[in-house]
């Protein structure tokens, strides 16, 4: 039997599935990234520090805010720029906006059609209008909060080194807060919907890697932790990622303690369950989830739980901003100097690293970006190898769909993944 899925659909970027079995033996089974490589790390060399976040946000249209945040963090560490508390709060708010945006896109637009037996969200507009309207509403809300803070979600404008070039008004914040409160209804209904979905059964424990903070559900900064008990400062990210090139993929592979590890919503859920907002924990209970969850397909359910968390945390952030009042800050003057810095964020698909070196004029001389989908690549292949023998008795079409669903469960962001670097910093 031979299954080839050329350009898996409803994922971001181009990837192919290749499975070849003979008499129940697997000869070939892999996921290939065939996306055109884009070489960001090479061409950001020579660019001034203030351009880096604007260029690297263009790595990905879905996690543009995540890239910008990690990029700014790396630059700020390299150049010794301090952030105001207001800036930290606004960055978090923006980040939540993107998290919700990405998760609603993935769960509703890309994953749900599989369970409802259609090829895309478009026919759902007439068959399940309430579901689609809800999805559009949540998507609009998350896009609007990003627009309010940073101008737009895809390639945010106002996020600058050290702060924001534009601030939301208190009037806008108040109106936005009210909409977030209203969105609780949509969250409840989302959780109810995801509770009814027949998630495929498949268990394979792996190493789960995420950021961690003591006092909050870590998304921006923190330390790197693994469910196998390791912990590193983010500057030591290479000890976790250990990138290698593989011939059938323009994305590089990573491994840590085992042959592969997983990052993303499920990894965060498993590692940081305690810091989830109580309402998110309630949602998890409704979905019957509690760590350690080892069914990869439930990554999408973990995303739904994170949406609840982000809605709640955003409300709290907006409350805090409104209590403090918006201060008319502008980004601080940057004292340009040579330096090196690493930024890390746990973006929708998992942990993301940006690492830059600047010369004394603030010109980038070296850069490395390691994105989540690349880190998941080896784990996805391991999952496929484990899943295929369990389902060999099914029809080819069923297997194909299941494999595609597995790929989609990772929410791979393939255009992100196609620019990796393996150069040692001197």
């Amino acid at each position: 039997m031979k299954i080839e899925v050329h350009h898996v659909t409803r994922v971001e970027g181009h990837g192919d599935i290749v499975v070849d079995t003979e008499n129940g033996e697997i000869k070939e089974c892999r996921f290939e990234v065939v996306e055109a490589p884009r070489f960001f790390e090479a061409f950001v060399r020579g660019r001034p520090y203030y351009e880096l976040s604007h260029i690297t946000s263009r790595i990905c249209g879905i996690c543009a805010v995540g890239h910008a945040t990690a990029s700014l963090q790396a630059t700020e560490k390299a150049l010794g720029v301090e952030l105001s508390e207001q800036t930290v709060l606004l960055r978090k708010l923006m980040f939540h906006g993107e998290m919700i945006d990405s998760h609603v896109l993935h769960t509703y637009y890309l994953v749900a059609p599989d369970f409802l037996g259609v090829g895309s969200v478009i026919p759902l507009a007439s068959s399940h209008p309430a579901v689609v309207e809800r999805a559009l509403r949540i998507k609009k809300l998350s896009g609007d909060v990003c627009a309010m803070v940073g101008g737009r979600h895809t390639h945010p404008v106002a996020m600058a080194v050290g702060g924001f070039t534009h601030l939301p008004s208190e009037v806008e914040l108040r109106a936005m807060r009210a909409r977030f409160v209203d969105a609780r209804v949509d969250m409840d209904e989302s959780i109810a919907l995801f509770g009814t979905l027949p998630w495929p059964e498949f268990e394979r424990e792996t190493e789960y890697v995420s950021l961690k903070k003591d006092d909050e559900y870590a998304l921006i900064d923190g330390t790197i932790v693994s469910s196998d008990g390791f912990s590193y400062p983010i500057e030591d990210y290479r000890k976790v990622t250990n990138e290698t090139c593989v011939p059938f993929s323009t994305a590089k592979w990573t491994h840590h303690n085992r042959d592969s590890y997983m990052v993303g919503a499920l990894a965060r859920f498993n590692n940081n369950y305690d810091q989830l907002h109580p309402r998110a924990q309630e949602a998890a209970a409704k979905l019957g989830m509690k760590p350690l969850v080892t069914n990869t397909f439930l990554n999408s359910a973990a995303q739904a739980i994170e949406m609840v968390h982000c809605i709640e945390d955003s409300i709290e952030i907006m409350d805090e901003l409104l209590t403090r009042g918006i201060k008319p800050e502008t980004p601080p003057e940057v004292d340009v100097r040579a330096g090196e810095g690493v930024g890390a964020c746990d973006v929708p698909r998992g942990i993301l690293f940006h690492h830059y070196v600047y010369d004394e004029n603030g010109i980038c001389t070296d850069a490395n970006c390691i994105i989540p989908t690349g880190q998941n690549m080896a784990n996805l292949n391991a999952d496929m190898k484990a899943l295929v023998p369990q389902v060999l008795d099914r029809s080819q079409d069923e297997i194909r769909l299941l494999l595609e669903m597995l790929v989609r469960a990772y929410d791979p962001c393939i255009s992100c993944s196609a620019h990796f670097l393996n150069v040692e910093f001197v």
Partner: protein, 259 residues
């Protein structure tokens, strides 16, 4: 502009090459405010969002730059089928940020990223799709503007020239009554860059970076003088000009040398 079939909705398809897919995402986002788009057109191919795949499209929206040989054949196929080819966003329209790699020697770029495995990955200079196939229309921007996308679709439906402005970002910026960034010690490419984004960057306090390409007959020399006067070094001026427009500036150089 080719006729759209009067008996039905025009069939449209989306394709992507080297890009972040943010423009297609913007198309998806346009449904939030324009769900009636689905009644006006029939989407037959949209890999990012749907599994179905029809090959009988009339209008092809192409996102992304051409960066390797394999892309060319696919582009030619699309051109063969489509009556109207639309370049969607800066990567397809200008080469966009992808073309920044053209500023470095190709070999160096590949080794930098893939080390001694560089030969596994075919790539060449990044180019807009218009360098490979004929393009009927470009929707500029990084990413495209949602409202402009909708305006273009409507223009195509009624059969008139899509209203992509030829005037610069300053026009929209002034009409919105923004404080000009040059007045507050910042800098901006707005005077020479094509409008249509509603001046979103200056509105949000950041100078235009040129993602929509230059206006026809831009006064580039005067722009450089203005930027220099705003305190930018020659390198910074060039950096600003090349962020999205490397391919155009390199072509321009070749042309000038030819003359």
């Amino acid at each position: 502009m080719s006729e759209t079939p009067s008996n039905g909705r025009p069939k449209i398809a989306f394709f992507d090459f080297a890009s972040c897919e943010g423009c297609q995402l913007t198309v998806v986002d346009s449904l939030q405010t324009h769900l009636d788009l689905l009644n006006a057109v029939e989407i037959v191919q949209f890999r990012e969002a749907m599994t179905e795949k029809g090959e009988d499209y009339q209008i092809a929206f192409i996102e992304g730059s051409c960066t390797r040989e394999a892309d060319e054949a696919r582009l030619l196929e699309i051109r063969e089928q489509a009556d109207v080819v639309v370049a969607l966003g800066a990567c397809a329209h200008l080469g966009g940020v992808n073309a920044l790699k053209n500023l470095h020697p190709l070999e160096d770029t590949r080794r930098w990223v893939y080390g001694d495995k560089a030969d596994w990955y075919g790539t060449y200079e990044a180019r807009p799709i218009g360098a490979v196939i004929e393009v009927d229309l470009a929707i500029p921007g990084c990413p495209i503007d949602r409202e402009e996308f909708v305006r273009v679709v409507k223009a195509v439906l009624i059969g008139k020239t899509p209203p992509i402005p030829d005037y610069p970002v300053c026009v929209e910026c002034k009409l919105k009554e923004n404080v000009c960034l040059f007045d507050i010690g910042k800098f901006c490419l707005g005077p020479v860059v094509r409008a249509g984004c509603d001046a979103i960057c200056p509105t949000y306090g950041d100078g235009c970076e040129g993602c929509r390409g230059f206006i026809p007959h831009p006064n580039q020399n005067a722009m450089k003088d203005v930027l220099a006067k705003a305190g930018l070094t020659v390198e910074e001026v060039m950096s600003r000009m090349t962020m999205f427009n490397t391919y155009q500036l390199q072509e321009q150089l070749v042309e000038e040398e030819g003359r």
